[in-house]
């Protein structure tokens, strides 16, 4: 038999029993919609998780510390220039940035005429300023100083760390938090007391409060970087100083030679989010302690996948019920058509053509249900997203571009339901597969009907 003839016969048969075909297709349709909608909610959750993580910082950064760990030879590992070279040599590592700080000392900063503005707890780290760009720091203003000389980089909200010593307690600080919008974005920030880029900062380092041996150093802010917690708190309200300057400072206050100074941490940047796990493992094997967003990301991903599976499983149950419906319909149809199949065989129809005919009928039911189901799922998804975007609320405004955003997503949009193209393809293929699998048993039943049925009188 020609394929076109089988196809025609298949659709004639489906058309002949419109009501039954419709009900069976409806079953597949409901199953398909529930799977797609459920999974799309899971995907939507993952999307918003990823957005949350990305706002928290760079996911490709690993923080390395020595923690007094030991390497395979039993030696205590040190974060020195040698370690810097070893870690830089690990595949997929694009940059390593050494960091030092003076945590055990009290660091104060003052600025303005008569040291009017004070910062009691300054965060000061030494980094490799030349590596800043490759590490993925975003310079917001100014130009990154290249050769140290106590020209430093300030965090995004550096100037807000200062209090005004001329004002009474309670009114001596610019509040940058209360104007923050709900999603953590800083809008309409009030200006700080001074512009850090053209204000010299005086650094005061002491061993403790009673120490009279104060070390002072004037700093010039050359650039401002964007806040990124994966790189450190200093990107928010602290200062990043070139590692050479920092070492010199440390040598001075601790009174030790420059060469004996160890770094406190390394920031290791990998080329891709997927390399983080492997690089982190290799660094751990060297005996260092590591920290990255990877573990948070992994656990968030795991929980969203679990929810996705759960939701998908619920949808799968309805598709399973639909599959039973298809099998039932096909068995009914075949027992009604016993004589017809017998006649076809007596007239020389091949067994494989009969099997194909019935498989195609079942597969078509799956296909129609799947296609309509996907279409309706997309509409449902758009509707849900528009609703969550506030398109239907009285004060919300509805624009056509919102439909586009609801469907494809956008930068500042959190969608409740996300349908990637793969999900549509999967939904249709899976429905067809369900049709074929549930048609398999009936088709084999049809094949077993003999030509003798044609002769039997009923």
């Amino acid at each position: 038999m020609r394929f076109s003839d089988i196809l025609r016969m298949c659709f004639e048969n489906l058309k002949r029993r419109k009501g039954r075909t419709f009900l069976t297709v409806l079953g597949v349709f409901i199953g398909c919609v529930s799977i797609i909608v459920m999974v799309s909610i899971g995907v939507g959750m993952k999307e918003s998780n990823d957005k949350t993580l990305a706002e928290m910082g760079d996911l490709t950064i690993i923080e390395v510390s020595s923690q007094g760990g030991k390497n395979i030879n039993g030696k205590t590992v040190k974060l020195n220039d040698e370690a810097l070279k070893t870690i830089s040599a690990i595949p997929n590592v694009t940059a390593v940035m050494p960091k030092t700080s003076l945590d055990e000392f009290s660091i104060k900063m003052t600025a303005g005429i008569n040291d009017r503005y004070k910062c009691e707890w300054a965060t000061l780290v030494g980094v490799d300023l030349k590596a800043m760009q490759s590490m993925g720091y975003t310079v917001l203003d100014g130009k990154t100083p290249q050769d140290g000389g106590y020209t430093v980089v300030g965090g995004q909200f550096f100037a807000y760390a200062f209090t005004d010593s001329f004002m009474p307690e309670g009114r001596n600080q610019i509040d940058r938090w209360s104007n923050m919008s709900e999603d953590g974005k800083s809008e309409n920030l009030p200006d700080p007391y001074f512009n850090p880029l053209n204000t010299p900062i005086m650094l005061h380092i002491t061993k403790d409060a009673e120490d009279k041996n104060e070390l002072t150093q004037e700093l010039k802010i050359g650039a401002i970087v964007k806040e990124d917690y994966s790189k450190g708190y200093e990107t928010s309200e602290g200062i990043l100083m070139d590692i050479k300057d920092m070492k010199a400072l440390i040598a001075k206050v601790k009174e030790i030679p420059v060469n004996n100074i160890e770094y406190s941490t390394f920031l290791v940047k990998t080329d891709h989010i997927n390399s983080v796990q492997e690089v982190e493992k290799q660094i751990k094997e060297l005996g260092y302690g590591t920290y990255s967003m990877e573990s948070i990301r992994k656990s968030m991903e795991k929980s969203s996948r679990q929810i996705q599976m759960l939701l998908g499983g619920l949808g799968a149950i309805s598709l399973f019920v639909a599959a039973i419906g298809i099998t039932n319909t096909m068995i009914m149809s075949i027992s009604e058509r016993t004589k017809e199949i017998g006649i076809m065989k007596a007239l020389g129809c091949y067994v494989k053509d009969i099997r194909l005919l019935f498989l195609m009928e079942a597969g078509s039911i799956g296909l129609i249900g799947g296609v309509v189901g996907c279409f309706v799922s997309i509409l449902a998804s758009i509707g849900t997203n528009l609703f969550s975007m506030g398109a239907f609320s009285p004060e919300g405004t509805f624009t056509l571009s919102m439909i586009k955003d609801a469907l494809f997503g956008g930068k500042d949009i959190t969608r409740l339901s996300v349908i990637p193209i793969e999900l549509i393809v999967f939904g249709i293929l899976f429905s067809v597969l369900v049709g074929l699998v549930s048609g398999y048993y009936p088709a084999n039943k049809a094949v077993k009907i003999t030509a003798l049925e044609a002769i039997k009188s009923d």
Partner: protein
């Protein structure tokens, strides 16, 4: 395979035995049948109900496998064929006319007649052209697009005959072809079958319990209790079937 049919008899039956298991009992439907039907013969298998005539037809047309013995059509042992080989064989060499017409109710007359050609994989245009030619031959020129339910019994059986003969089969099996028809229509239908058979030198195996049917046959084989009790040749048709005597 058509070449094979030029030589030798159309149908050969050797030591054919068919038993059925009915519950715990074994029923012998055909005891030991030996039969040769020549090419071009119109052969009537006559018997009362329970005589085994239908069972014999089922064996001859390979609708059932015999318990023992074999059936050859055109020199080919069809009783040993598998389903696929049988389907091909039926497409090329066998035609069926049924008592209950057995037309597919959702197909038109043309589509029903063209059905055997569909299974052969012939294109829609050419097979429907053939089907129309056949329908004109059986006098249903104005019934092309009627459905079986819109036609009388006689008309339906004529569609059935057109379907049986469309692929020019060597052997056509007719199972009580006029069982549901009145005597006038019976005459028309039988004349039509005979006409086709003579024109293309086809072999007809007619199964009936109606003594009237024997009138249309060249040869009457009577079956009682699964055995051939008489074999009367009215018109002698020689083995090659080229010339028909006594007519």
């Amino acid at each position: 395979m058509r070449e094979d049919f030029k030589n030798g008899p159309a149908i050969e039956v050797r030591n054919l035995r068919k038993e059925y298991i009915m519950g715990t009992e074994r029923v012998v439907a055909l005891k030991n049948v030996n039969l040769t039907i020549n090419r071009g013969e119109i052969c009537c298998i006559f018997g009362t109900s329970g005589s085994g005539k239908s069972t014999l037809l089922n064996q001859l047309a390979a609708l059932e496998k015999p318990t023992r013995g074999g059936v050859k059509i055109g020199g080919v042992l069809i009783s040993a064929m598998n389903e696929n080989q049988l389907a091909t064989f039926r497409q090329r060499h066998l035609g069926f006319v049924f008592q209950a017409y057995n037309l597919l109710s959702e197909l038109t007359a043309v589509e029903n007649v063209a059905l055997p050609l569909v299974f052969r994989g012939m294109s829609k245009e050419s097979r429907e052209l053939e089907a129309k030619k056949m329908l004109i031959k059986v006098g249903l020129k104005d019934r092309f697009h009627h459905f079986p339910g819109q036609m009388s019994g006689g008309q339906q059986q004529r569609v059935g005959i057109a379907r049986a003969f469309i692929a020019r089969p060597e052997v056509v099996f007719a199972d009580e072809p006029t069982g549901n028809l009145d005597s006038k229509t019976t005459k028309e239908v039988m004349a039509m079958i005979k006409d086709f058979a003579r024109k293309f030198n086809q072999t007809i195996v007619l199964v009936s319990h109606d003594p009237e049917m024997t009138e249309y046959a060249d040869r009457v084989i009577t079956l009682i209790d699964g055995e051939i009790v008489s074999d009367v040749c009215k018109n002698h048709i020689d083995k090659t079937g080229d010339n028909i005597k006594n007519e």
